[in-house]
């Protein structure tokens, strides 16, 4: 089997576009007709849909850390995921806690990202021990905020301590710190 096409020459990318709603009219109908004639493409799409389902399960279960968008946060809220949000301005340090029924902790990091590429985010303890590193954060010319979503379960395991979030990027050929944010992590609260 080709990586990109089935034995009959149909494009797997077209199947994904069809599923995602990016094909309409005659193009969508053509792909649909092919699906009912081609077992290979049917199997491919079935696996893609199963993968997509698992990704959805992973999101709903707050299983992984990711940079997200507001539309993802809205969807998570609609799905009943309990989200605790903290908003930071550059240089700001704020107290933060995790509660037993939190699923996801979201940090909204505001920054002037003008002209930066290769933007990355490091979460570290005050003693320098790195807890996570995210690289190549997708930003556009209008991006003014990075939304970092972390599973609450991961933060519950962190004892009370000071944490630093360092946002860095490359501008004019030099890697530099864009902004730093402080967290007074007080551990897991109880009601």
């Amino acid at each position: 089997m080709s990586v990109e096409r089935c034995g009959r020459g149909a494009s797997f990318a077209d199947l994904v576009d069809y599923w995602a709603g990016d094909l309409t009219g005659a193009d969508a109908a053509q792909v649909e007709a092919h699906l009912f004639e081609c077992a290979e493409c049917a199997k491919y799409l079935e696996e893609v849909v199963a993968l997509g389902h698992a990704i959805g399960e992973g999101m709903r279960g707050a299983h992984f850390q990711s940079i997200v968008t507001d539309s993802v946060l809205n969807r998570l809220s609609r799905d009943g995921v309990r989200i605790r949000s903290y908003a930071f301005e550059p240089g700001q340090t704020i107290p933060c806690s995790v509660w037993p029924d939190d699923d996801l902790v979201v940090s909204r990091l505001r920054a002037d990202l003008t002209g930066y590429t290769n933007v990355g985010l490091v979460l570290a303890r005050e003693d320098g021990v790195e807890m996570s590193r995210i690289v190549d954060i997708p930003i556009g010319p209008e991006t003014t905020e990075i939304i970092d979503a972390v599973p609450a379960a991961r933060l519950r395991a962190v004892p009370s301590c000071r944490l630093r979030l360092v946002l860095s990027g490359t501008r004019e050929g030099r890697e530099q710190v864009i902004a730093e944010y402080g967290l007074e992590h007080t551990g897991t609260e109880t009601r």
């Binding site: 849909v49 997509g52 997708p138």
Partner: protein, 198 residues
């Protein structure tokens, strides 16, 4: 009499022809094989158009009942195009399901042999921790695109607007990310043995 293995290797048209030419309800192996091949496709069609797993499963049952009725009655004019017939039936019944709700009960009451369609579709699944690990290995932009596509149900132009990149770039990245995910995750957990459509 064909063996199960021979049915696995038979063309779709041969299965349809066998069902059409046999006394009603006697070509059970051919009917079961036709179901095994097309039920997942009808389910996908149902998920795509009805956006609901239960409705998609209902659609599978409805379409197969009609398909077998028509084959048994000799009312499918071109068995060579059985896939096209099943797709057309899927479109008609999904449209009806959207308009007037489920017709499942009435159809099941009309049909006297439910055994062929009695088993649920053994849908492909993947191990969630493995998927999460593989997703973590993707470049962040690709991961975000998959999340927006499959979790937030966003088409490429909307994702492009959110990430401030071109829609074409979203589609290319999505396709590339899925290829990497499939390679990383490996075989699904519950893939059934399959014969090919020919």
């Amino acid at each position: 009499m064909r063996s199960s293995q021979q049915w696995l290797e038979a063309a779709d048209a041969m299965l349809a022809e066998t069902i059409a030419s046999a006394p009603a309800g006697t070509a059970t192996d051919a009917e079961a094989e036709l179901y095994r091949r097309f039920a997942p496709r009808i389910r996908l069609f149902g998920l795509k158009h009805l956006r609901d797993e239960a409705a998609a499963q209902d659609l599978v049952q409805q379409v197969f009942i009609v398909t077998l009725e028509r084959l048994r009655a000799g009312a499918v004019r071109n068995v060579e195009a059985i896939g096209s017939f099943i797709l057309g039936t899927s479109r008609t019944m999904a449209s009806a399901q959207r308009k007037v709700g489920s017709r499942r009960t009435a159809l099941l009451d009309r049909f006297d042999d439910r055994n062929t369609m009695a088993f649920p579709i053994d849908a492909v699944t993947f191990d969630l921790p493995r998927v999460v690990r593989c997703l973590d290995t993707l470049p962040l932009r690709d991961r975000t695109i998959l999340i927006l596509t499959f979790y937030a149900d966003k088409p490429a132009p909307e994702i492009a607007a959110e990430l401030q990149i071109a829609p074409g770039a979203v589609r290319v990245a999505r396709s590339r990310a899925l290829a990497r995910m499939r390679e990383c995750v490996g075989a699904p957990d519950k893939a059934r043995p399959r014969g090919g459509s020919r």
